[in-house]
């Protein structure tokens, strides 16, 4: 049976790549929206933004948000009800985290068996999932601050929801950079995410 060799089931690979497309569109259009009224003292170079002008960027952003949102719900439901989240990500023993962290510093962190995540991978992927959830929630506050009062107060109001949204974007971009470096170091992982084995 080929399924015994499958590292990533088809639904996981699909949701992963759909998420990639949605995140790229959301981040690049988000940068253009940011430039319309920067929170910090810098702007994002226009050449790496999407949409051309504010209205175009907003159209992209508010279209891709549905892709991210629906795809994210499908990913979470399948992960929870297939039991994958339980056996892939838990437990995360703290002493193992320390061990893997020290190994990573020495450049000796192993990922020989692609079916098993080391503890740093577990933490990094769970972080990405949580970060995306906070991105969606802070985005909801920015989009509909009157209609979601509880969420708005949780984010500390409209203006700080913008900061939360930006910081979570920056963290997701940082995660992606590290993720891509790791994939470059262990290229078999890219093959596994494409064809499942």
């Amino acid at each position: 049976m080929s399924s015994s060799q499958t590292i990533h089931p088809i639904w996981l690979r699909l949701t992963h790549w759909i998420n990639v497309i949605a995140v790229v569109i959301l981040v690049m259009s988000g940068w253009r929206i940011y430039n319309a009224a920067p929170i910090f003292s810098f702007q994002i170079p226009a050449a790496i933004t999407l949409g051309g002008w504010l209205a175009g960027a907003l159209l992209w952003h508010f279209a891709a948000m549905w892709v991210l949102f629906i795809n994210g719900i499908v990913y979470l439901l399948l992960n929870i009800f297939s039991g994958r989240i339980a056996y892939k990500f838990f437990p995360i023993p703290p002493c193992e985290v320390l061990h893997d962290f020290l190994a990573a510093l020495k450049g000796k962190l192993a990922h020989a068996d692609l079916r098993h995540y080391n503890t740093l991978q577990k933490l990094a992927y769970l972080f990405a999932v949580l970060d995306l959830i906070v991105l969606v929630l802070s985005g909801l506050v920015i989009w509909k601050s009157v209609q979601f009062p509880l969420l708005r107060e949780l984010m500390g109001g409209y203006d700080s929801a913008r900061i939360v949204h930006f910081v979570c974007m920056a963290l997701l971009v940082a995660f992606t950079v590290v993720h891509l470096v790791m994939v470059a170091l262990v290229p078999r992982t890219l093959i596994a995410m494409l064809r499942g084995r």
């Binding site: 790229v24 929206i33 009224a37 929170i39 999407l50 209205a55 175009g56 009157v146 203006d159």
Partner: protein, 248 residues
Amino acid sequence: MDDPVIIRSVAQELELPARRQFLRHAWTLGGIALLTGCRLDDSNSVESMLKMVSRFNDKVQAALFDPARLAPTYPESMMTRPFPFNAYYDRNGIPDIEEDEFSLTVGGLVQDKHSWTLAELNQLPRTTQVTRLICVEGWSAIGKWGGVTFSTFLQRVGADTGAKYVGLKCADDYYTSIDMPTALHAQTLLTLSYDDQVLPPEYGYPLRLRMPTKLGFKNPKHVVEIFVTNDYPGGYWEDQGYNWFSGS
């Protein structure tokens, strides 16, 4: 003189390249990824797809809109000073409106179509609110607005509140339109004053429709005509691609 009109039309022309850029950039990376079946230079199909989603988002926002839910109000100490000026033109373009020249035209699906003078408007019951204005650009500012609850005004003129839209036209050639539930919202205010003073020109003298449940560009200044209709009236920015509902 006609100077402001000239400046305004020049400013509009200067804006145009940015709009064309949208077409040029719209189909780049995301377009390729999203529509692999489409020709890559077919930017119109990408744009029409995005606008289709935007119309869907109008419906979602209308469904999310709770007429009973109020926007947060703030103490006066939290007011943003100075409150920012923002328009599709700079300060030179602010229309110069004389009190005795002003009249508000009311039309469409209303029973009483008489034009209102400023004195008549000033006799209507007044209320104030300290609310946050959120701009589509992302910034926000807290201000104190005073005027007539718009639902009171709509009742006075016998508006058909079962109609879909309220359209607004302005002395600076701006125009926009809103959904009826927002028009009837308790905080939708036909504004005549700012910070307890007569509404200054930069914030829309003599009349602005203020809605803390809508983005700033949906809050038209220098309103000279209000009409109730079932035919989608569009808007200055909306017709260029900004989302129509743009509620908060």
